[in-house]
């Protein structure tokens, strides 16, 4: 039982890294990035390509994934997202078009990775060898500790940055009203680029962790990951870091319990059944932030 709890906290840390970025992009910029799962997978793939040619250490591979994710996400912002945002005023139209564009990007990334990997799974080889320690009845590896520390640490740092720093406050101003924020001298372009870079970088980091932790991944995994992140966001509320942490813990615990108590064939349905139930009961998420008002009529 304690072991399952530990495993689910590790899984939750990866979910946190992955879903915070998606949640922030949606909350702050109104972009639901359906390519987020593909970015995670593709960053891991880039890290794999890079690690395959050199014998890289763990930090180097993590940085490679982080940069790849950040750059990919930034390119999406500088390309389609910005063009769409500057051509439509209507919030719903904007949402719809960015979602469609991001689905296109996702298709490209998955297809490119599938083409070069032959649609099979790949690993990220590093010089790092995890060592496991036995503490009582629980086995814990140093990799698990690193994942937990990075996952929870980065989310804490990001939350502090958003609430305390000058730029963080500017980002939150952007979240509530772009035009007024611009009148106060806040550069929407710079901050939205930064937000998207951070969002993608976190996904890239999560990707490398996930592949090293699980051993391998394949291009098609992007879709099911995306649904997990969406479940986390729905539970936690859009744009809320604390909510995402809670959501990730809940989802990871549920998944771990179901996988270890049943044959595992139903596990892909968990995240989604959960989303559906939550949305039916509370359409704005369990821990809603004030920003996204779901009920309009």
């Amino acid at each position: 039982m304690l072991q399952q709890l530990l495993d689910s906290v590790v899984l939750a840390s990866i979910y946190i890294l992955f879903s915070i970025g998606m949640s922030l992009a949606w909350g702050i910029l109104g972009i639901l990035n359906l390519a987020h799962g593909a970015i995670l997978m593709f960053s891991a793939y880039v890290a794999y390509l890079w690690a395959d040619s050199t014998s890289a250490s763990l930090p180097m591979v993590l940085i490679a994934g982080l940069l790849a994710g950040g750059v990919l996400s930034l390119l999406m912002e500088l390309g389609p997202f910005r063009a769409i945002r500057h051509s439509v005023g209507d919030a719903e139209e904007l949402e719809l078009r960015t979602v469609i564009a991001s689905l296109g990007v996702s298709t490209i990334l998955v297809a490119v990775a599938a083409h070069y990997t032959g649609n099979t799974s790949f690993q990220v080889p590093t010089t790092f060898q995890p060592t496991a320690y036995q503490i009582g009845s629980v086995r814990i590896s140093d990799l698990q500790v690193i994942i937990i520390v990075v996952g929870f640490g980065l989310s804490l740092l990001l939350a502090l940055w958003l609430s305390r720093s000058r730029n963080g406050r500017a980002v939150r101003a952007l979240e509530s009203d772009v035009e007024t924020a611009a009148l106060m001298g806040i550069s929407e372009r710079k901050l939205s680029s930064a937000t998207m870079f951070v969002s993608g970088a976190l996904a890239g980091l999560a990707g490398v962790f996930l592949v090293i932790y699980l051993g391998a991944t394949d291009p098609a995994a992007s879709h099911s990951l995306l649904t997990s992140a969406f479940a986390v966001i729905v539970i936690g509320g859009v744009g809320s870091i604390g909510g995402a942490v809670i959501g990730a813990l809940v989802l990871a615990l549920l998944e771990t319990l179901v996988i270890s108590n049943t044959s595992g064939v139903w596990s892909p349905a968990i995240a989604f059944s959960f989303i559906i139930v939550v949305l039916l009961v509370r359409p704005e998420g369990l821990f809603s932030s004030s920003r996204t008002k779901v009920d309009r009529v």
Binding site: P80, A83, E95, T107, I275
Partner: protein, 301 residues
């Protein structure tokens, strides 16, 4: 002509089925909802028709009709249950439902044939059957695109609150569109099963959603005609250009979707009609005072 038809019959049939599916997605888009529930009903329609025919419960024509009606009612009920869920949340919920259905179908044991699905379903549908069914579908879509229902949907698409304030029954229109979408999806599924003789739980999955959405975006999301044109292009092009297959096809479609969503959200049809409008107005004598106003209004529609 006949030789050409015989060697391309599979593509033609696939195009027609894709066109039905694209219409099913377009029908919800015209009330401003990006829903992939139509794909889920496509899967349901496949299984329901296959099971009804395989177990000899109904002849194939009735099997499709019953399936279509049941799925239409189910889709209407679904829209009722989901009436509190909006916008992108609704998109993700429908996405979730489709993926859950896939899991259910692949774990359904002997009844659904598990992960391998069902096969050996008698192939009874000919191309002319499909043409008749799709013609009926087109008539329904075209009729509901005009007149009061069309205007109500259009109003709902641009502003739900405003539409409700001028007396449009927002919920009823939305639910009716969902019902129609489910029906079209189910019929497409039924036709597909009775044309190709097999069902697989992963038929109605993520790749199909992306393909059909691509079709609607490429053709034009505003009208049924755009959806149909898009479906024909997306389905036939990869087969006609043989080098253009598998992953290359996916990459090209992805790129096409990004470019169109960014620069031409109304697709090829929107692009063509804008060009036509520009051509017409350049041929006409210089506008009077009221003309620019009117033209702006038309452009908004």
């Amino acid at each position: 002509m006949n030789d050409w038809y015989l060697s391309n019959v599979t593509i033609i049939q696939s195009c027609l089925i894709a066109a039905m599916l694209a219409m099913s997605m377009q029908v919800t888009m015209r009330v401003g909802v990006l829903s992939v529930a139509g794909i889920g009903f496509y899967g349901l329609g496949q299984y329901s028709t296959a099971l009804l025919v395989l177990h000899g419960i109904l002849p194939w024509g009735l099997a499709i009709a019953v399936t279509a009606l049941a799925c239409g009612v189910l889709a209407y009920a679904l829209a009722r249950v989901l009436s509190r869920v909006r916008g992108l949340y609704l998109t993700m919920v429908t996405l979730g439902l489709v993926l859950v259905l896939t899991v259910v179908a692949s774990n359904g044991g002997e009844f659904t044939g598990g992960a391998t699905g069902l096969y050996g379903i008698p192939v009874t549908v000919a191309t002319w059957h499909m043409l008749v069914v799709i013609a009926v579908g087109i008539v329904i879509c075209a009729v509901t695109e005009r007149g009061f229902v069309g205007r109500a949907s259009e109003a709902l698409r641009s502003d739900e609150m405003l539409a409700a304030s001028v007396g449009i029954e927002a919920r009823t229109v939305r639910r009716a569109n969902f019902g129609l979408s489910g029906m079209l999806g189910a019929v497409a599924g039924g036709l597909n099963v009775l044309t190709f003789g097999t069902v697989n739980p992963f038929d109605a999955g993520f790749p199909l959603m992306v393909t059909i959405l691509t079709a609607v975006i490429v053709g034009g999301q505003r009208t049924w005609l755009g959806a149909v044109i898009g479906a024909f292009l997306i389905t036939s092009l990869p087969t006609l250009l043989s080098s253009f297959s598998g992953d290359t096809r996916e990459m090209a479609f992805g790129a096409l979707v990004v470019v169109l969503a960014t620069y031409a959200p109304d697709g090829l049809l929107g692009f063509a009609s804008a060009a036509l409008r520009r051509l017409r107005s350049s041929l006409r004598p210089p506008p009077t005072m009221a003309e620019p106003e009117r033209r702006r209004e038309l452009a908004d529609v």
